[in-house]
Symmetry: C3
């Protein structure tokens, strides 16, 4: 091998390393970092440093220990929104406008968001519209929209007597390279698709809503976990979501109830209840 | 035990009895009373006297042998509405306003109802909004919203070119204390969730739509009954619903066709066809 | 038998033959003729000559080798539309108005179409509204609306910030007398109902969306084919649909990818990729 050729190879190698560093500026070793801010507001950082928010509800969310300004320009890559409800999509549009992040959601809610985002100084192009079944790849993460049995009305403008149509509600499947596959079930009711999700997508972790009234109660959520084990040896951990600490009302299900129901069914699953504002590592 | 303490216990006991009597002023022994007024308009009285209406369509319903004024102040506790369609929700809002009953339905349809009910002199607070999966307990009955494959458009106001969005259509699961568990499937199409409903909720009685065109035809409704038997030894009775006697048109399925289809599948189920205006007792 | 009576019988026989010819003016022997015009635009001619269009998208469809004027008065019997999306319903309303065809779709989208069709000189009566589960019989074909996990927003009028509500999206089951039973899955995501469709309706042919992003990607579409084989010995052929030739973008799935995924699952199915504008015969 000539010195010139060797030098070229070494240079290419360094170029690759540099490119790799640029692609993953906040790279974290070992697993996915997750922080919970109440209800369904979750922040994920992938092994490669991709930052993803789900349903980032802050304004009016008593459990959100951060303000909108916590999310700074360039520090969020992707925002997911499971329905048009105020506590689901939360402040997704405003945070996308601030940070420059991409939003990935269904076509109908996405259309409304495209109209909204310009009010906050963002661009329509930031909203990547898909529909149930569709995927979006960003950095080291592939996200897929999955069915959810829930409504998706958007708060009606003045003088309109019913909520606007946000399309079908959704869940998300997050597949992290060198990390776990996480199923986020949105605000779904119990439905047979949980069995399919197990058989077909074999998630390692399932995030299940258990507040009741507007979604599964803790016992149905535990049954969803059981269905998710169908043909799925990977499922080891279930994370209760869509619950509140501050301002909790009597009708609201608790993570403790959910854990008791999982035990009652005898499921060999770890129930991982997230604490507000505390970063934990999944599948690290 | 001191006489004073004994007296206290006796008093408490009487207080409980009195409270119980107040809670169940129209108490009926043995089972749930059901009366059918055509289409999907059903009136239930629980063993404890809780009065529940489903889809109380009167105005324009040729089979309704009663008028709106049949339902008097304080005589209805709960009203359920499976979709925003005129023949489904029927006169739910007007009857709630008249009687003071609570309406339990999905968030989107419920929001529209909250805007409507004040026109009839009712209060927004009468509408208890949930979403699919959610439960509401009243007296001796727990009601749960379950998935339904159907539309839920609300009649458009003048100048609007499409129906308003009523959220997802629903069915209801009615669990009566000291009585049967009844699954009311709304106006659903055939879907795998009927299998889940059997496995998970094990209803004793299923009320299945079989009009066709806008929902299951009689043969699909019989197949839904079959799916509901999955892992469910309780199901003994199926009740055809969403059919008409007066003003029936050629395309409309009949209870007789439904019964024939249930027989064709060899299902060991009693087909109980309700008669207009005749009160019957279920699971008494 | 008198000569007069014989003559009468012969005349009646000829009358029947003539009536038969009139009823089936484009009668074709042996099977269903199908022509593909890109995306989900399909034209079917039944054995008895019934002409059915699905999602006839022409304006803006780069793969449509025909113009709106291809469809002439009296030459289309039925038009099906699986959602309110512009590339799904396409030019259904305009073509119905031109040809006099009946449209069969869900109540909500149908209501909007009834308002639109008069703008093109058509009549509200041409829109036969149903909902999921409902059937419509025309000539020698019975069509049934089946569930689909997809959105159905209709393009918003000026000044409205979200799409209008088109009701639930749908698929269609087409049962041809003396021909195959074809399941057209619309733009659905993967859902357990594909298993039910196999068990219950036992289609011979399934048309599966595989574009990705707004619906199943090719691998999920292949899995849907697998589910459709559940309890269904009839399924022999799968047809990829909702794909493009001209103007295809990077994210769009291809029929080749779909075929590779069907092979990867080892399914004993023929993948029949339709060519633009080429008439083929199904189940002839």
């Amino acid at each position: 091998m000539s010195r010139q050729r060797l030098s070229k190879i070494v240079m290419s190698f360094f170029a690759l390393v540099v490119a790799g560093l640029l692609a993953a500026p906040i790279a974290e070793a070992g697993g996915v970092k997750m922080t919970f801010y109440g209800n369904q507001h979750f922040r994920f950082v992938s092994p490669g440093g991709t930052v993803i928010l789900i349903n980032p509800w802050i304004k009016g969310n008593k459990d959100a220990t951060i303000g909108i300004d916590f999310y700074k320009k360039g520090e969020v890559d992707l925002i997911l929104a499971t329905s048009g409800h105020g506590d689901d999509q939360g402040n997704a549009v405003e945070i996308a406008a601030r940070t420059g992040a991409t939003i990935f959601t269904v076509a109908e809610l996405g259309r409304w968001m495209q109209n909204e985002i310009e009010k906050y100084g963002g661009s329509k192009k930031q909203v990547y519209r898909g529909s149930i079944g569709g995927r979006y790849k960003i950095g080291d993460v592939t996200v897929q929209l999955i069915p959810s049995q829930h409504g998706s009305g958007i708060r009606a403008p003045k003088g309109v007597s019913a909520p606007l149509y946000g399309g079908p509600a959704s869940g998300y499947l997050l597949s992290f390279e060198n990390g776990p596959r996480i199923l986020m079930a949105g605000s779904s009711a119990l439905t047979m698709d949980f069995q399919l999700f197990g058989m077909r997508y074999k998630p390692d972790i399932a995030m299940l809503p258990m507040l009741g009234r507007f979604m599964m109660h803790p016992d149905d959520a535990a049954f969803a976990a059981k269905l998710l084990m169908t043909g799925n040896p990977n499922l080891k951990t279930v994370i209760p979501q869509h619950f509140r600490i501050k301002g909790r009302q009597g009708w609201m299900g608790t993570p403790e109830q959910f854990e008791a129901e999982v035990k009652k069914l005898g499921l060999p699953l770890k129930v991982l209840t997230p604490e507000i504002g505390k970063e934990i590592t999944l599948g690290g």
